[in-house]
Symmetry: D2
């Protein structure tokens, strides 16, 4: 599927500040960036770094006092691997590829080490494989309420599992924490999300099952087929759309995504991977 | 300097268990492993993975019910870069290499996002550079008491900064959290530590200053020149000497390190790097 | 029912220390202390304070360096109010006596303010009254595992609700937190507990329903009819069996309770109150 | 000194709700309520409860869907005990009156049990007595920044001691936690505060020294002589100006206080008690 995505960010900068932006669609085998355009006012040199493995694009800007306007736009073609959930099995710890085993370890917002017993109690008897991660997502969807503004940048899975409210990043963090506690590698995905209302940067997660990273979105707010990947990481700490060193204020942010071709989704109950 | 290092780990395994061990000295430009010997009883295939960038060695073993005896021994030659602390400056966020900028982000045990103001208040007026990180270490040494057994695997920098007691990993986590909150990249190092009493796996940290990762040990329990590196990571979550999936009990653990050549240290007040 | 209860506490005192002990059975309308004997070595003056409302007995001792031996023994007669659970209703916040409304407020170990949504989700649809509190206890019994030594004096309901392991005080704290979050007044009870194995000080809780404080014990480790009350409070902070100011070590502690008359219990499924 | 105090609270009530208000000036030996007027629209019966010991006035209202307007106004005469700080000593735990010893125990927002070592390290060498509590207040004033809206109803002393920002209740909670960790009884005070800008309900704390409860305000935002007491408790959990059971929205709140006589303060550096 082909999408047009983009964002506009307007900042007021109080003194010389360094921005690290992670807003560009990643380019990988399953996500082709057909064209992309980035405009920065004031016109400054920018430095780009593509992280190995994740392909995350980090842009660094150094901006003096004044205004900063960032405008990004891209056309992206997505390929999906669409699989039958019933055929997707879990890898045992004896069999998980060692280069991804670190996605089992706890991270800032996903304290899986503190959710071990709860995870076993709630999901230990689920059918192993895709169905177990789906059960995790259903649990979160059923028990956690999406409430805009209910959490902040310090909120973690350990909070959400009890307070039972949050936004997309909290849903993703809890899903990741549960999976890791179940010995299923899991990681955070930030994305442009088609049909998300209101439009915003979105967060979901991937679990490693069989031999792929499958997408899961416990918020159910947008179809997985319409997620244009921006960043992949252990949790939101790795994929903030903007990390700022300095005194700035975000005055306006707009995020958009349109589907450029056939808009029918036929894969609702299928497993979807695109990394 | 040349060291002989090693460890013996004896486990009782209650049912089929997967071990991921991170006990081998890393091999890199500054740390040459002259010879190494690893013995496992029962004799099982083991799988090794060397992580890119960190060179951490992860060994995976799948062990049936019964006993597991692991014995590792190596001879290691260390090279150090010894620099004048006064000449080591901080890199501004505008200038930190983008491939290490993720070492500024908070992690499971180093919630730098919650220590921002405290770090600025305590260290914001320190002389930038090596001296500032040294001030962080002095603060920790002065205010946190080393008490064996006072903390557990859930304890994080956010706890230690208030409870003021811990072991080497807690000291390192707090140092890392302060540095990141000060926009100084910092990471965790696990090591065999010469002269550490009683002998044990040790933990310290590195901060990126100038163009090197400099070693710091706020416990002051062992000379930095005698640290034979095992693992490097965002925090202890990445470098556990053993991650076990299954029901096992560690019955005995011995860790040792000897210096094989000139034992005099002439670099006490110098900055030391070896990555 | 009549019980003989007692305890022996042996301390090593490193320097002048003040002890505040809360080990004596309370005397109230429902719990008659027939005889009681307290012996202290060394022989020191002791000061007793009976708190109003709760009738808790606090004993203060000032002990010099050396040993302290405390021996307490009492014969106690218990009266119970035994009621039909089906007839015990909840009081609405508009109707709860104002002098106990503070038992709705969060306390150190019972952060009911953070469990509001979870409590509503889990118990909001239960039948109001005794049945709802029973559902809280069943939930705790089903989901939290009693593991000796799994928690410490800092552990609170906010931890236990996720970590799902603890000892009697953790079970009680979680029960209290849930009740308060449901607008049901609840409070902590420490007690000598007949048939508790191994013998120890026990903790359970009371919820205010109808016009009485009914006893609940989510551990199911001892019959409620055999609880000889020592202390009543907002949580364990109010009812520690010993609060010590100074450097001491508890070398030995023995707790015992025997039933002196008819040992048959006929009130297993009944609601029991004795305050 | 004589003050005129009052408040106006306007709520939108979505369904039948119970309010417990703690907005009236307490009446005690040191605070005489000369006249008081409370108006409620709609006109409903209200129930008042005066708590023993603290004299806190709790008003209960049951309000149907619609608007609630509360208007309170009182004239209050304050007497102060003004003492020389140098002559105010600490009571040892062996000597603290047993009926207030519970003010040494940790509470929801004042986790003194986790601040023991920090408190000793920071204040253990201070001169015992009033000077030590003054040192606590100076520490808080120096290190914690008053930032409106920086915290919420879950924020506790354990957070504030690290995050170093908060509002008056956070300042008070941290002061109380430090004092209790130092074995000095301490409690929370809510008040109308003369000269507070902008006008609002204020929070400070009292520490028990010598034989009185002395007032301390680490925010330094208002003179202690102008504090007209509303509530006294273990922490903010006991003294919320409004506890609401139901779905309501506070649309408007106004708080005011005027001094009706000689406005000169001559007791700036003195110790002040009025309970």
């Amino acid at each position: 599927m082909k999408f047009k995505v983009g964002c506009e960010l307007n900042y007021e900068v109080s003194n010389d500040s360094t921005f690290i932006l992670n807003i560009c669609a990643v380019e990988n085998e399953y996500q082709q960036v057909i064209d992309a355009n980035l405009q920065i006012k004031p016109d400054r040199d920018l430095e780009e770094y593509i992280a190995p493995h994740t392909e995350n694009s980090y842009l660094r800007l150094v901006i003096p006092k004044g205004k900063l306007e960032v405008s990004y736009q891209a056309t992206v073609n997505l390929k999906h691997s669409v699989d039958n959930p019933d055929e997707i099995s879990e890898r045992l710890p004896s069999d998980i590829p060692l280069d991804i085993i670190h996605y089992l370890y706890p991270s800032r917002y996903c304290q899986s080490d503190r959710l071990m017993k709860l995870s076993q109690d709630e999901f230990g008897n689920c059918q192993p494989g895709y169905a177990r991660v789906q059960a995790v997502c259903d649990w979160i969807y059923d028990k956690v309420t999406y409430i805009s503004g209910s959490t902040d940048s310090h909120t973690s899975a350990y909070d959400t599992v009890t307070e039972r409210a949050g936004v997309c990043r909290d849903f993703a963090h809890l899903g990741i924490a549960f999976c890791r506690a179940l010995s299923i590698p899991a990681r955070f995905v930030s994305a442009y999300a088609w049909q998300l209302q209101p439009p915003d940067f979105h967060a979901c997660f991937e679990a490693y099952l069989g031999d792929k990273w499958y997408l899961f979105d416990p918020t159910r707010l947008a179809p997985r087929e319409g997620l244009v990947r921006i960043g992949t990481g252990k949790d939101a700490a790795d994929t903030a759309f903007a990390t700022v060193f300095g005194a700035v204020q975000l005055n306006n942010m707009q995020v958009y995504i349109d589907c450029l071709d056939d808009k029918s989704l036929k894969t609702k109950d299928m497993a979807i991977a695109n990394t």
